[in-house]
Symmetry: C2
Subunit: 313 residues, 2 copies
């Protein structure tokens, strides 16, 4: 058995049992991967994949367990490298953040600025995507830290902690009839077409639930992945915008009015997540500490080693 075989098996598992694709992703030949897979199965005395003719069609019972173990092994290998990097230079390295657009645009700038001042030699990379993409990126080791309001708490492979809370707000063109609606109600909003986040982004599920609970079925005129796009179309009069209140800037968004909606939609909790068992770089733990009030770098380490359970709000 060798590490290469484990990497190959893991990649094949991740790539939907497609050996050729895995080989190409690993920058090696397909026959090589195929052969090493067989050798691994041979040595373990258990088939990992079910073969129909010459194709891999499923993962066996034992295979599931084996792939899970391989995942843990490769994660620990990655941790070893992290220890080495940390040792080489505590203040230099790469930090990959996987965040939603709203976070990148409105929540991160302040922390990122402070972080960069403190760790000028750390190269920051910000990946964007849907909350599920972000979670997957962290699970697969492509990103170190994910920040999002949705989905993160649902992954057992991740440790997630609540970072801060916020509310949705309603944005309309200045002078819109809704501005005179006091107090603002869901019923009043539902009379207009809605422009808001795409499904599974930035608290969208909470918005839908709030309307549904009152028996309302507002027309969703347009959905987008980011608050800026939604603001633009709300400004064009395509509909009433529902965005994260922190995405409204009284200065820059003078053409729009923000109507507070704290009483209409539930409070949202943005969470920070990283891989369970991951050996985070010191500055990565520090970043989390800077982003989440009252969470020390040491506490982050403890969470990673996994008291096992999520920090519950």
């Amino acid at each position: 058995m060798n590490l290469q075989q484990l990497r190959y098996a893991a990649e094949v598992g991740r790539r939907g049992l497609n050996v050729s694709e895995a080989a190409s992703a690993l920058h090696t030949s397909q026959p090589g991967v195929s052969k090493q897979l067989r050798a691994l199965e041979e040595e373990l005395g258990a088939e990992i994949f079910v073969r129909q003719g010459r194709r891999l069609t499923a993962v066996t019972e034992a295979g599931r367990e084996i792939l899970a173990g391989i995942g843990r092994i490769l994660a620990e290998i990655a941790n070893l490298r992290v220890v080495g990097e940390e040792h080489a230079n505590q203040a230099r390295g790469n930090l990959v953040l996987a965040v939603t657009h709203t976070q990148a645009r409105y929540a991160l700038p302040k922390v990122v600025t402070a972080f960069k001042r403190r760790f000028p030699e750390v190269h920051l990379k910000i990946l964007q995507g849907s909350p599920h993409d972000l979670a997957k990126a962290v699970v697969d080791g492509e990103a170190d830290i994910a920040i999002a309001t949705e989905a993160l708490a649902g992954y057992g492979e991740l440790v997630s902690v609540p970072a801060y809370q916020w509310h949705h707000g309603v944005v309309v063109p200045a002078g819109h009839a809704l501005e005179r609606e006091k107090p603002l109600t869901l019923e009043a909003i539902a009379r207009y077409p809605i422009v808001t986040y795409d499904a599974s982004y930035t608290g969208r599920s909470a918005i839908d639930r709030s309307f549904a609970r009152r028996g309302l079925e507002p027309e969703i005129a347009l959905t987008a992945l980011d608050s800026d796009v939604i603001k633009s179309y709300a400004g064009l009069g395509l509909g009433v915008g529902i965005i994260s209140a922190m995405a409204y800037d009284a200065q820059k968004d003078r053409a729009l009015a923000l109507l507070p909606a704290d009483h209409l939609f539930p409070v949202q909790t943005t969470r920070v997540a990283f891989r369970r068992g991951a050996r985070l770089r010191g500055f990565a733990a520090e970043f989390i500490g800077m982003f989440v009030p009252h969470l020390t770098r040491e506490a982050v380490g403890r969470l990673a080693r996994g008291g096992g359970d999520d920090f519950v709000i």
Copy 2:
């Protein structure tokens, strides 16, 4: 990086930083181990061992973390093999028990018999040693399950569960003066020399504490590792024996009298332990289930995956 390098580093760490000894234990050449160690350190970018001249004298800060990670990796590799073995034949394999003499002689026979009837193809091996030896054997992967009354709960690398409780008893030659002492007291016992277990065996620490708490300092005439030896010498009149009550057999030990001492010494709890995170063979979990009442095979699996904490009585 490859697995061989990790095995080498782990072995050197375990063998007190002696490369030659590690090489010989691994059935390979010393220069090979030395070179691979350097290669690993080189690749990780961190020294694992401190060198003074040509000798390894200590483990570095980073090295401690790295060796810990390597330990987890090698344990997971072992788990992969276990999955393979399980797949090959659920009812065949090896089960290594590490137990103290008292357990082997008086607690195990019934369970072992039942186990063998149920899994005739499983080869059972019973290792003996001091509780600390047993714990070490399991931590190092030399044994699957340890059973002892002392020490086990003190190892973070082990998951331990209470199996059953018992009391010490006093054995004296039939007709001994102590037989007429009713109720039996520690003071009365302390008037005679004592024959009992060696330090750190089978509840010896509790015996010492009981006397000490009453300000008594009995003369320990002789200590031994096993109950049978103690019984022999107590029978010869060398002193009053204090052994596990279950080690007294009214039939076979007719020359001795057992004086109950439940009220003199605290109740003892024998524990069963296995490596945290270990993927036990099905029959191993089953064995634990047979030994520990009310513990199902599934519960054992859950414990291994580590809700993290010991089962508390």
